[in-house]
């Protein structure tokens, strides 16, 4: 009962507040913003509090909260319960999802304060976290899929939030459609999975118990298709194209959805299905490669981007690639830990970017923002940047280093190499961003951000710095509390401490070198202005154009072909022609009706004669 209550409130408070905000904003046009603010914050705040409570109990008392709400579907063997379960993994997820959401909510009250659609924004926003919780807390994959689709949907709504410009809407469409391609894989996988399971319900625990019954090929197929879902949601190659465009939404949206929460759902899902992936090493390896490629590819593109949010978006994609690499080699906890830290620093980066954008009248191009003066933001952003580049002792140092270690230890050195290069590139583009923004001559001075924006950022800064301490590896005397808590089916890699130290050192050294060089190149120069802003990298390897030219154009062509050629010309016209031919034939036949009575008599005679010929023929054979 307590579980039901807790989980229920956790889940429903955003939904209820979202609905309330919706109704109010639709029917009472002149409502004060305060009411929306209160409702929105209440919704996410209550959730955040309960989430912390649950995580606390989960972490320290190893409690599992579970609740069965109602039966969603029951057809013969097919039973889907709407059941929620906060086991360690889910608790871990809500541990950062809920508070970060809450913080971004607070931030957004400031960021959006002058927007006319303030209410609508928070309605979507709360709806989003409802779906996110549903995704995370679901105890069976179908309900998880509902949450999964739901976040996609709300994300679509939020990306296209400024619908006055149709391009934003298209960006939303793109996001949802690409996501749905992933969902296609996800749902197919679920169906296959369901049909392969002997019986006994579709809860996760039962699924994992039944995996052994599934034949290997099907299992691999399922694993692969699940990952297709993850590709879509977590913006991995080849389904990443939506993420950069998704930056069309308001910045809090980018911070929450496209950095901290939704995009990590793919990682969460793969981790959730860890037992499955452990049985399909080839798919895992594939995941690792996709992750590596995405990380490298995104990092590469990020080096030549100028839009502040786009840089961060590619960076997100790149970091997600890191996570998938870890997942691919079986280091699930490591991946999740990176996700954890990533939520903080990437959230922070976006918020900072948002603060800059607001302060400088919606300028987003770093070439226009050279040398801005914005001290507080600078500090916070610097911390976040250092975190993302994995400079010790910031949190990401621990997480990313663990990934590198795992990659190295797994024996796939090519993966390690790619991760290493990505890591270097990360250092480059982040420092490039920072240097261009803050270490340049410029007169632009911003007015301070409102408090509602500032304090959440403060908090996140702290978290970025210290979150790493929660999963300190043995190397530094920690005991990997997190990993133990999550208790996932990790593959345990051990490498000699000496090697680990060496790796770390080399890594850090290279990063430091890159940062230094970048500073030299961009600080107080016009390198950013004169650098070549065309070519393959700047244009993101023409991937969008490629998709447009092939997939989109092909579908359009096909559509025309179907409608104009097949339906109209090949079928309909033929049918009409048949009718016309019939009429034509009627005209021809009616020429016999020429009105001349002698002809009529002649027809009769012809009839008579042919009848008699027939008769004679008949009788001849009879007699």
């Amino acid at each position: 009962m307590r579980d039901t209550l807790l989980l229920g409130i956790l889940l429903l408070s955003p939904l209820v507040t979202a609905s309330l905000i919706f109704l109010i904003s639709l029917f009472f046009k002149n409502t004060k913003q305060t009411i929306y603010t209160l409702l929105a914050l209440a919704g996410s705040g209550i959730s955040a509090a309960i989430a912390l409570y649950i995580s606390y109990h989960s972490y320290f008392e190893k409690q599992i909260f579970s609740s069965h709400l109602f039966t969603w579907l029951n057809i013969g063997d097919f039973t889907i319960e709407v059941a929620l379960k906060a086991d360690a993994l889910s608790s871990f997820m809500i541990l950062f999802v809920a508070p970060v959401s809450f913080l971004i909510h607070i931030y957004a009250t400031g960021y959006m304060s002058r927007d006319k659609s303030y209410g609508r924004f928070f309605a979507y926003f709360n709806l989003f976290i409802f779906f996110m919780f549903l995704l995370v807390l679901a105890d069976n994959p179908i309900i998880m899929f509902i949450g999964w689709e739901g976040v996609g949907l709300t994300s679509y709504a939020l990306i296209g939030f400024y619908f006055g410009d149709i391009q934003n809407t298209y960006a939303g469409n793109k996001a949802f459609i690409v996501n749905r391609v992933g969902d296609f894989g996800f749902l197919s996988a679920l169906m296959l999975l369901f049909l392969s399971i002997p019986s006994g319900g579709f809860g996760f625990s039962n699924i994992f118990l039944s995996l052994a019954h599934i034949e290997p090929f099907t299992l691999s197929l399922i694993a692969f298709l699940l990952f297709v879902g993850a590709m879509g949601k977590s913006a991995q190659i080849p389904l990443f194209v939506w993420l950069p465009d998704a930056m069309a939404g308001p910045t809090p949206v980018s911070a929450l959805i496209h950095a901290a929460t939704m995009v990590t759902a793919g990682v969460y899902m793969v981790a959730r299905f860890a037992p499955l992936y452990n049985m399909t090493p080839e798919v895992s390896l594939f995941i690792a490669y996709i992750g590596a490629l995405s990380a490298l590819f995104a990092a590469l593109i990020a080096t030549k981007q100028y839009d502040i949010k786009k840089i961060l978006a590619y960076s997100t994609m790149s970091q997600l690639g890191f996570m998938f690499m870890a997942l691919g080699v079986g280091a699930y906890s490591t991946a999740l830990f990176h996700m954890f830290t990533h939520a903080f620093f990437k959230g922070l980066l976006f918020m900072a970017a948002g603060a800059i954008i607001v302060a400088f009248h919606h300028k987003q191009d770093i070439r226009d923002l050279r040398g801005i003066k914005f001290p507080k933001i600078f500090i916070m952003m610097a911390v976040a940047s250092l975190t993302i580049t994995a400079i010790p002792p910031f949190s990401a140092f621990f997480s990313k280093d663990a990934i590198m270690g795992a990659l190295y230890a797994s024996g796939h050195l090519e993966l390690f190499a790619m991760a290493f290069v990505s890591s270097i590139l990360t250092a480059f583009y982040m420092s490039r961003l920072m240097v261009v923004l803050f270490f340049n001559k410029g007169e632009q001075v911003a007015k301070e951000s409102p408090k509602s924006m500032f304090y959440p950022m403060m908090l996140l800064t702290l978290l970025s710095v210290f979150a790493g301490l929660l999963n300190v590896p043995e190397l530094f005397g920690g005991d990997l509390n997190f990993s133990h808590w999550l208790n996932l089916a990790d593959k345990i890699y051990t490498i000699p401490h000496a090697k680990e130290w060496a790796l770390m050192a080399v890594n850090t050294l290279f990063i430091a070198l890159v940062i230094y060089n970048t500073y030299k190149k961009y600080a107080y120069t016009n390198a950013i202005i004169v650098e070549k802003n065309y070519g393959w990298v700047t244009n993101k390897f023409y991937i969008d154009e490629f998709y447009n030219k092939t997939v989109v154009a092909a579908i359009d062509k096909l559509s025309h072909f179907f409608e104009k050629t097949v339906s109209s010309f090949l079928i309909d016209e033929k049918i009409n022609l048949t009718a016309l031919a019939y009429l034509k034939l009627g005209k021809i036949v009616s020429m016999t009706e020429n009105g001349n009575v002698r002809f009529y008599a002649l027809y009769m005679l012809l009839g008579v004669v042919s009848g008699f010929v027939y008769l004679y023929w008949m009788l001849r054979s009879a007699v």
Binding site: S590, A601, Y603, Y614, L619
Partner: protein, 496 residues
């Protein structure tokens, strides 16, 4: 009333009434209205009398000593006689406005109408070839003249000319055929011929087969089967509307009544020989008929062409008579009921709205009628649906029986082609509906008057609907089942 009395009373009544009007017509007391109502009353009384003979199963020879077994009165003839009388009555009742507004509807036309009905009555009862032929000639000649009544109209004269010429031409085939049969069977009595056929080898039947073939040609001509029905479009077009209705609705049925008797008594033995011919005829008739119907501009011509198609449907059932005798024969009867009432209704509406003008009623003339005269439009729609065989109308049930009997006889392909031509017929019948409802009226129509005509049109419409859905479940009025019973009794009274 004894059946023999009915059998004698009905034709006698018609005859006497005809002669009375003929004489009365020369008197100064005669007005058109009086003639009209006397005719109407005669028809009504005759109908009432003859309706008494319907419903039970019997078969008697009328005055066999005097008439030498040449006429027979049975449920079959009773049913058909009631049908024509009703048909004649309805045609005339609906044609009131037409009769009033035209000056060629003299007393002779009533006389001829009664004579033609007399001819049909005798034709239906005829059990002998020559009697049947004379009866047929009486009916035909009356109708020829009725077609040509409007002698100032070029169209009517031409129609008269064509009908008379081709009718006489076809009649001579009948006589030739009769002669051949007589030469072989030494009798013209249907029963005797049937006996003869039953007891001889095919070798001794050659001339009977050829003669039957020739008689069939006349019949094909009368029912306007292709290629003998080329006249039908022209004649229907040329005749004035009530007469067209009469021809399509009543006269044709009389022919079929005779054919059915002929078939069931004699032809059925030669089933194997004739079936392919009839099938071919049915196919060609349906096909050509529907081709002609789709391209017509004039509604009247369209209905004429479609009546050809309907003959084709009935031929389907004739083809099936050999294998599925009772169901096919009842199907024909039912179909005739259905076609009778629908055709009379359809032509009746046209005559109602034509107001006696000679002008061909084109589709365009129906435009917007639904706005000005919703009831008339609805009635015409119902008749069209019935002719098209749309469910919930009597026409559908009729078609249903025909198709079922065809399938039962093993001629599924024939049923299939029947359905195809029904499909085409949807086009031209619905075109009428389309013009009634969807087009705007070009001119404002005044009201047409004559509540009586309207009432009978509506009545026919109701009958059409009731014949399509009617059941004793709802009201205690004879519905489909009763009509079915009726046709079955009729067929059984012929000895099947």
């Amino acid at each position: 009333m004894s059946n023999e009395f009915i059998a004698l009373a009905v034709p006698a009544l018609l005859l006497f009434s005809a002669i009375f009007i003929l004489l009365f017509g020369f008197s100064s007391h005669y007005t058109k209205n009086r003639g009209y109502f006397i005719t109407l009353a005669t028809l009504f009384i005759a109908f009432i009398i003859s309706a008494n003979g319907v419903g039970t199963k019997y078969s008697i020879l009328i005055l066999p000593d005097i008439f030498n077994s040449m006429v027979v009165y049975d449920t079959f003839s009773a049913t058909f006689i009631s049908l024509f009388l009703l048909g004649g009555f309805l045609t005339l009742a609906i044609a009131k406005s037409f009769v009033d507004k035209t000056n060629f509807f003299t007393h002779e036309s009533f006389v001829l109408l009664l004579f033609s009905l007399f001819g049909m009555v005798v034709l239906t009862m005829a059990n002998e070839l020559l009697t049947a032929f004379i009866a047929l000639e009486i009916a035909s000649m009356s109708v020829y003249i009725l077609v040509g009544l409007n002698k100032n109209s070029l169209k009517a004269s031409e129609a008269f000319f064509k009908y008379l010429l081709l009718g006489s031409f076809s009649a001579s085939f009948y006589l030739l055929g009769m002669m051949l049969i007589y030469a072989q069977a030494k009798s013209t009595n249907l029963d005797v011929i049937a006996e003869y056929i039953l007891h001889t080898e095919l070798h001794s039947q050659l001339l009977i087969i050829a003669g039957s073939m020739l008689i069939m040609i006349t019949i094909m001509f009368k029912i306007a089967a292709v290629p003998f029905g080329a006249w039908v479009l022209d004649v229907y077009e040329g005749a004035s509307l009530p007469i067209t209705a009469y021809m399509a609705g009543v006269f044709k049925i009389a022919i079929f009544a005779f054919v059915l008797r002929l078939f069931l008594k004699d032809y059925i033995t030669f089933d194997a020989i004739y079936d392919p011919l009839i099938i071919g005829g049915a196919l060609v008739t349906m096909f050509v008929g529907s081709l002609l119907a789709v391209i017509q501009q004039s509604v009247k011509k369209m209905l004429a062409a479609s009546s050809v198609v309907h003959s084709g449907y009935i031929l389907i059932a004739f083809a099936s008579i050999g294998e599925a005798t009772s169901s096919a024969a009842s199907a024909i009867m039912f179909y005739l009921f259905a076609y009778f009432i629908s055709a009379i209704g359809a032509f009746g509406v046209l005559s109602y709205i034509s107001k006696g003008s000679d002008k061909a009623i084109n589709y365009d003339d129906l435009d917007g009628l639904a706005k000005t005269r919703p009831i008339i439009a609805a009635a015409l729609t119902i008749f069209m649906l019935s002719l098209a065989g749309f469910p919930s109308t009597i026409g559908f049930i009729g078609k249903f029986y025909i198709l079922t009997s065809a399938i039962e006889a093993g001629y599924t392909f024939l049923a299939f082609f029947g359905v195809l031509s029904a499909f085409v017929s949807i086009y031209y019948y619905f075109k009428v509906v389309m013009h009634l409802y969807f087009k705007e009226a070009g001119h404002v129509e005044v009201h047409y008057g004559y509540k009586v005509s309207l009432a009978f049109i509506v009545l026919s419409g109701v009958v059409v609907l009731w014949g399509g859905v009617g059941t004793s479940l709802l009201l205690d009025i004879p519905g489909i089942n009763a009509l079915n019973e009726l046709s079955r009794y009729s067929i059984e009274s012929l000895g099947f």
